[in-house]
């Protein structure tokens, strides 16, 4: 049976004091030049999405040093909401049997309309193991 991990995305303003309700969370996986859509979720009143199950490599790959084989699945998480700057987090790591929690801190849009297409992009690089 294939291994799976899971992902939940939480969206907030101001260090978790204000949950963002109704943010659109798009989870994709890049394979070559293609992006495969894994799921689209809307955050609830607590700013959270339900858990998304994602296929992963076998756990053995993370239990000893590997030459090139990557022990986790990388997915991209995009968060959109009309009142905040879009945040894209690339290469979120999903490990077999583990829950990944992606807490996304969102920043309200400035009043300056010229500014509002600015996207924040975060790229997660692998562990140096």
């Amino acid at each position: 049976m294939a291994s799976q991990g899971s992902l939940t995305v939480n969206t907030y303003l101001s260090g978790q004091t204000v949950p963002v309700f109704g943010a659109v969370v798009t989870v994709t996986k890049r394979e070559g030049d293609k992006d495969t859509l894994l799921g689209v979720r809307i955050t609830d009143v607590n700013g959270r999405t339900p858990e998304l199950l994602i296929d992963t490599p076998d756990v053995d790959l993370s239990l000893s040093p590997q030459d090139g084989a990557v022990p986790f699945t990388s997915v991209d998480v995009r968060v959109d909401h009309p009142s905040v700057y879009t945040v894209i987090t690339r290469n979120v790591q999903i490990f077999p049997g583990k829950l990944s929690i992606e807490n996304v801190e969102l920043i309200p849009l400035s009043d300056d309309l010229n500014d509002n297409n600015k996207e924040e992009i975060i790229d997660i690089t692998p562990q140096e193991l």
Binding site: G15, P19, Q93
Partner: protein, 480 residues
């Protein structure tokens, strides 16, 4: 000579590159920093004992940097870097693994030290394959764990026998410390009142968490259900028991929400009249114009970890300049530390965006520091002003032991009279038990100072713990 013992900071400032690089600094809660480092350095699928050992080393390394002021003493304005050539791997905004999240919640207030030495161990570590070092081997620790070594055995294996682990380290400037025992059903007393008060305020922003009425200091079924719901929302073990992890999450969130309300109410002062750019401001300037930009920076810093908070004191000093530079760097403006018209307008737009969206788009209840309601409050009074008064008294009660909690019923009865009298006694006002304008303003100022101090002081190395008898200010205030 007094010895200074290490404490756990509330926040840590991380430079996102090698020390001399032009990178931004980000400030975030210490616990979140460690969760990030642990998730960035090792794999979550490793044995639990290996994970514990690695996190103790990461904690100690970070606390050593902070305690020895390694970077700050060299003139840098950050505590640590995210560069693995110098410090530990940290990626702002990365995902955290749930098992690592739980372990850090458990041990974040601990560190390793050499026996007989005060400072946290500058615990070196490396992967053990492509890099070897004197210190913990990350792959080696996983191997040892699989052979049955526990975390302590692993740590002594790599660091020697003359180490010990210090636990329950005090948290700097924390408004309400964990009582040291898990608070649960059947318990009663002030610790339960704190939990009930805080959860009620949090539930205004998180409507899925039920309110607890009455706030009676008795941990019954209603309180337990609210705690469980809180735990579910915040990815904590859902057991209905307020242990260390749950306690700190509740209090941190409560304080954060109050600080936000405070900023919003100050906005009525700073944003109410037509505020506009008057003249360029820079280090050394003083006055109302400086207060305005300090207010802007305070709001922006509450919503953006790349902008450090500042005191709204009307003096443009190094902290204000640092915050201006951070704002400019974050917004693609020339990094001058000088607030010219372009910088001012950019700040103002950003702040207006925040303040407007809070009220309109987000479910945020804003009960700020209000003006005196115009009539005295006393036994029999009821309504929103009384609720506000009770909120303020409860925050003050968190820090001042001689002041009792008040159930936030909105009705001014015996307990409110008692707490008001205790406040008046403590702050040298006539002990009438009645809230006239002078008492209202005193209560409001103490409340807002507590909230403001927590925010800024947690940035400084030698912060003062807020404890009865300590004061940075002359109380009571004279009315201006």
């Amino acid at each position: 000579m007094a010895v200074i013992y290490p404490t756990i900071p509330q926040n840590i400032t991380v430079h996102l590159g090698p020390p001399d690089s032009d990178a931004q600094n980000v400030t975030l809660p210490f616990k979140e920093y460690i969760k990030n480092v642990a998730s960035s350095e090792i794999y979550p699928t490793w044995s639990e004992q290996a994970i514990y050992a690695n996190i103790y080393a990461q904690l100690s390394f970070a606390l050593n940097r902070i305690y020895t002021e390694f970077y700050r003493s060299q003139g840098y304005n950050f505590d640590i870097t995210s560069s693995t050539a110098y410090d530990q791997k940290f990626i702002y905004g990365r995902n955290i693994f749930e098992n690592i999240d739980r372990i850090v919640d458990d041990i974040f207030d601990s560190y390793i030290r050499r026996i007989g030495v005060i400072e946290p161990l500058a615990a070196k570590y490396c992967n053990g394959t492509t890099v070897t070092c004197e210190g913990l081997s990350q792959w080696g620790s996983e191997n040892l764990a699989r052979q049955g070594f526990n975390y302590y055995d692993i740590l002594t294996y790599y660091y020697g026998d003359n180490i010990e682990i210090v636990t329950d380290v005090p948290i700097r400037d924390f408004i309400a410390s964990y009582p040291g025992y898990p608070v649960q059903r059947g318990d009663s007393g002030p610790d339960v009142s704190v939990i009930q008060t805080a959860i009620n305020r949090i539930s205004q922003n998180y409507p899925a968490i039920p309110k607890i009425y009455p706030v009676d200091g008795i941990f019954g079924e209603e309180t337990e259900n609210a705690v469980r719901r809180f735990q579910r929302v915040f990815n904590l073990t859902e057991d209905g028991i307020v242990g260390k992890a749950t306690w700190y999450r509740i209090i941190n969130l409560y304080v954060g929400i109050l600080q936000l309300s405070e900023l919003n109410s100050e906005g009525q002062t700073f944003l109410g009249n037509a505020v506009q750019y008057a003249n360029t401001l820079s280090i050394g300037d003083t006055g109302e114009g400086v207060r305005v930009i300090q207010y802007f920076l305070s709001v922006l810093s509450a919503f953006n970890n790349f902008i450090p908070p500042v005191s709204i004191d009307g003096t443009f000093g190094p902290a204000t300049e640092n915050s201006v530079r951070s704002f400019q760097l974050n917004n693609g403006l020339p990094v001058t530390g000088i607030v010219d018209e372009a910088t001012w307008n950019s700040m103002y737009s950003a702040v207006k965006g925040v303040v407007e969206s809070l009220g309109i788009d987000f479910n945020v209840s804003l009960a700020g520091y209000e003006k005196y309601p115009g009539t005295e409050l006393s036994t029999g009074s009821r309504g929103p002003s009384v609720e506000t008064l009770q909120d303020y008294l409860n925050v003050i009660a968190l820090s001042y032991r001689g002041i009792s909690f008040v159930p936030p019923t909105g009705v001014y009865a015996e307990q409110t009279t008692r707490s008001v009298t205790e406040f008046q006694r403590r702050f040298g006002l006539p002990e009438t038990g009645v809230v006239n304008e002078e008492t209202w303003n005193s209560i409001g100022r103490v409340y807002s100072d507590l909230i403001a101090e927590i925010n800024v002081k947690s940035m400084q190395f030698t912060g003062n713990t807020i404890r009865e008898g300590d004061s940075d200010y002359e109380y009571p205030y004279t009315n201006t």
